[in-house]
Each structure stands twice: as C-alpha cells, then as structure tokens.
Amino acid sequence: MTSAADHELVARIVSTQDTVAFGELVRRHQSQVRNFLRKLAGDISLADDLSQDCFMHAWDKIHTYSGRGSFIGWLLKVAYTTFLQSKRKSKRYAEILEEVGHTMETESRHYAIQSEEVTDLDKLLAVLDEEERAIMIMSYACGLSHREISEATAMPVGSVKSVIFRGKQKIRTSFDIKNHQHG
C-alpha cells in the first residue's frame, strides 16, 4: 500500500470504494493540508475541523480527480473551497443572528492570530488579505506551480502572478524581510 502512487490509490478508491486506500492518502497528505488550513484560518482547532471536512469532501468528489496535475494540488483546491464555504456559512450565521437582534463579535477580515506566540510568519500573513494569503501559502509553503494554484483558486494564471507580486510588495513595505533573522 505504502509504495503505491497517489493516482493508483485514487483508481482503487474510485473503482471499489477502498477505505484503506483512502486512509493511506489521508495519512500521506494530512500534514500538508492541515498546515495549509492552519496558516489560512489562523486557528488550530478550526483548521483541523476544516481538514476533516476537506477529506470528507475529497472522498465524495474523488471521481473528479482526472490525474492531470498532482493529487496534492487537487486536494488543496478542495481544502481552499472548504475554507471559503466555512467562511460564507459563518458570515450568514452572523447575519441571521443580527437580524434576530443578537450581536455577534464580527469576524475580522484580517488574520486572527490565535496562538499566544506570535511568529514572524503570523506577522507576515496578517498584512495580506485572504486571497493573497491563500495564494502565497500555496506557492511558498506548499510549493505549487502557478498553474496548479490557478486551478485550485479558479483564477487565471496571470491573476495568480499578480496576486503573488502584490503580496510580496505588501510584505516588503510592511515587514522588512531582507533584514529578517531566523530564530
């Protein structure tokens, strides 16, 4: 099982609904998906819940993976979609509560740092908007190509490059990364 390539496992899952093969895929990619969602959401427990939902959606939609491009690229697309759906749901919930007269702490559009220790990466992500954050994480943390990011975010490749350029400019002006010292 461990030596089979991702697309072989996917074929097994699609043909026989093999949950053992799916478990192997989850085991291989859970770290990357969870790291992606943790950086995006800024909340570890929310990110892990979203990661579970992401893999459940992946199970339902696994037949849509064509084998073109990497499986992790396809999985991060599902993860990003899951994140956006979750945000839309919580926004709708807040609107409903507001209508019935309950006030709810408005969800900041900005990156909410949940952990007590604020890292340099947290500061860096905080200056970016949601779209920039997602694309920068996909590019620099997950190592996806511009084309894979374009497929994951349903944006043209040119727009992806513009967002990366814009994100780097924001980081450059807000956070002197040239003088950044590690640890």
Partner: protein, 119 residues
C-alpha cells in the same frame, strides 16, 4: 517548448523567494489518529447510505400497509358493482400474470444493475 521555458522561468527563484520559502516552511504535523478518524467517518457514511434505502422502504411499507389494505377492501367491494361482461373484457386486455411478474423481475434486475454500476 514555450511551456518548458515558462516553467523554468517560474522555477528561477531570487533571494526574496527563497527567504519567503524558508519563512513559510512548516513543521510536519504528526498524524495522531487524524487519518483513522477520517476513515471512521467515511465508513460510517458508507454504511448509512447502504442502510438508508432498505430502512426507508421498510418504514414506508409499515406506514402504507394499513391504508393499502383498506383501499384493496374498497376496490374489492366496488368490483361487485361492475358488470360481469366489462370485467371479462378488461381482464382479457390486461397482460397475463406471468408477463407482469417477468416485467417486474426485469425492472428489479435493471435497478440492481444500475446500483452496482454506480458503486
């Protein structure tokens, strides 16, 4: 050839890109039972889907049995009012019972075949 050049250009990273990569680098997260939890959820969902149709059919049958029996009793009593000649001519027009049973079996076989194809 053009796409190879573009891909190569994309891979050429400057110092800023390398620095960003090092900043974005994350520690691998231990599984800690995560994948087992996901697989359990998937299996539970599979079982629920497999059981849903038979349970729905059984519940539907249980709900419908009493009114259905009552309906059949009424139909039987109404049939006594219909002239005999009309009944005989109608029966001769209806397909024979063996044909009805065969048609039902073909329908069930098609449904089961579709279900297995879907799986």
């Amino acid at each position: 050839m053009t796409s190879r050049i573009i891909n190569m250009a994309e891979r050429i990273k400057d110092a800023e890109d390398r620095l960003l990569e090092s900043m974005f680098e994350s520690t691998p997260i231990a599984d800690g039972g995560f994948s087992a939890l996901v697989v359990r959820r998937v299996r539970r969902r599979l079982w629920l889907r497999r059981l849903a149709l038979p349970i729905a059919a059984a519940l539907g049958g249980a709900i419908a049995i009493k009114p259905l029996a009552y309906l059949l009793t009424i139909v039987a009593s109404l049939s006594a009012l219909v002239p005999r000649e009309l009944i005989d001519s109608t029966i001769s027009a209806i397909p024979q019972l063996p044909i009805i049973v065969l048609g039902g079996m073909v329908l069930v076989a098609c449904l089961l075949g579709l279900q297995s194809l879907e799986e």
